[in-house]
Amino acid sequence: MNRHLISAADLSRDDALLILDTAEELAQMADRPIRKLPTLRGRTVVNLFYEDSTRTRISFEAAAKRLSADVINFSAKGSSVAKGESLKDTALTLEAMGADAVVIRHSASGAPHRLAGWVRGSVVNAGDGAHEHPTQALLDAFTMRRRLGRLEGLRVAIVGDVLHSRVARSNVRLLRTLGAEVMLVAPPTLLPVAVGGWPCEVSYDLDAALPKADVVMMLRVQQERMNAAYFPTVREYSRRYGLDSRRMALLPEHAIVMHPGPMNRGVEIAADVADSVRSTIVEQVSNGVSVRMAVLYLLLGGSEAQR
């Protein structure tokens, strides 16, 4: 494993499987009376969040606390960032406080990469702009493997706002590494220009893609990042690319429905689909804690010398 986790592309197949296997063991802990391990006692994990987040921040916080690490939460609102402090100065402050790991979410792609050059501890990317969100991809892969028993040869359709989605980018890279086949389904306006170079197929037709999919992953329409008109109306988008119960019936019997959250119910996913037994949306959240525990353990649990 590298010292940092910045991109899903940094992970070799062995690294990724080591994280998933470790998470599998740690997931057992959820059923125990005492959900705490002493492993990271005395280590400090800083959650540095420049962008709003509910589940990712809470998930990292729970993961670090279950491993007995000290957690410092930092959000841009109410900090010196509001007074204009630069990322580098904030990083040097964290360094002076002795952070062993910094979990960063930032609206600028590449912020975690820059940060990694300034701090001695490990940097974990918790989402940077439209670039990557590697722990989300890991928890998605973990959820698929738990539900369907394998990743090799799995056909995964990732549907919706691929252009603004760091989740899609990380998933394409990781799933490819792990041997799954990915198909992106989106309107042409919501696909990145360079998508032709990605290791996946591309389609504009959701109805045609569904019968072949083992997994369908719906992406949130990220209206806060849309400064232009990418589709005529929400209703038209929903009609062509939303997952409703009619479309869910096109899926094979065993297929599962995923969503990284937060959902726009009624836009990319219908409420009854989101709440159906095939949906893994709640499972993804609890799996997120196990996967992030595995990442923190593997980055911080060993000797300093190898880091």
């Binding site: 494993m1 296997d21 063991e25 740690l26 005492i34």
Partner: protein, 216 residues
């Protein structure tokens, strides 16, 4: 295979722990060929007899093993725990539950080595509350693994009593810990390497003693 090198704790990483090029010296993951100059101190028949004797001692000390749970410490302790459970179940009434208890997250030497691969923890559905837990390991050395196991047990429940069974006690304790059941006391020097090969993982049963060639 469970290699016991004097450099670290008393449990070397098993074959599944071969995670990268930083593997500590003196441990050859997956090497089941006999190391040069290794002396067989226990053969298959002796291991069989030692386990049978331990099983009978457990029956005596626990009044028929009625509420015993055997927990093997990965990797070497786990097959031994299941073998003991078989013998106990045959000798006395119904089934004696067995499982495994991984202690990696509780070790005191985590920061001395690269992050280790976790072993599998599998507690029988009966649980451990109010029961007599017999921890099973292949080699007792510094005692640090057993200390970690005691901490791990506390997080799982509250046994009525905890006992320790080991196939080989090679001495050199660093903590006030002793075994309740010992297959064989094996006087060693700290430079020597004790390896336990088991049918389930290595295709043969043997305890080997060799000079440590790693220079550690």
């Amino acid at each position: 295979m469970h290699a016991h090198d004097p450099a670290g704790g008393d449990a070397g990483p098993g074959p599944q722990a071969a995670v990268g090029p930083q593997e500590s010296p003196g441990v050859q993951p997956g090497a089941s060929a006999l190391p040069q100059g290794a002396k067989t101190v226990l053969g298959a028949a002796e291991i069989r007899r030692a386990l049978t004797r331990i099983a009978h001692e457990i029956l005596e000390r626990t009044d028929g093993a009625a509420d015993v749970v055997l927990l093997g410490i990965p990797t070497g302790g786990v097959p031994l725990a299941y073998r003991l459970a078989d013998r106990l179940s045959q000798a006395e009434h119904g089934l004696v539950p067995a499982g495994s208890l991984d202690v990696t997250m509780y070790r005191d030497d985590l920061r001395l080595r690269p992050a280790r691969t976790l072993g599998h923890t599998d507690v029988p559905p009966e649980g451990i509350d109010g029961r007599v837990v017999v921890l099973v390991d292949d080699v007792l050395y510094s005692g640090r693994t057993v200390r970690a196991a005691l901490d791990a047990l506390v997080d799982l429940g509250r046994p009525r009593a905890v006992q320790l069974a080991v196939l080989v006690d090679r001495g050199h304790r660093e903590l006030p810990i002793r075994a309740d059941y010992v297959g064989k006391n094996l006087p060693t020097s700290q430079r020597e390497l004790v390896r336990v090969l088991l049918e389930e993982t290595d295709g043969q049963d043997a305890v080997l003693l060799s000079e440590n060639g790693s220079g550690a």
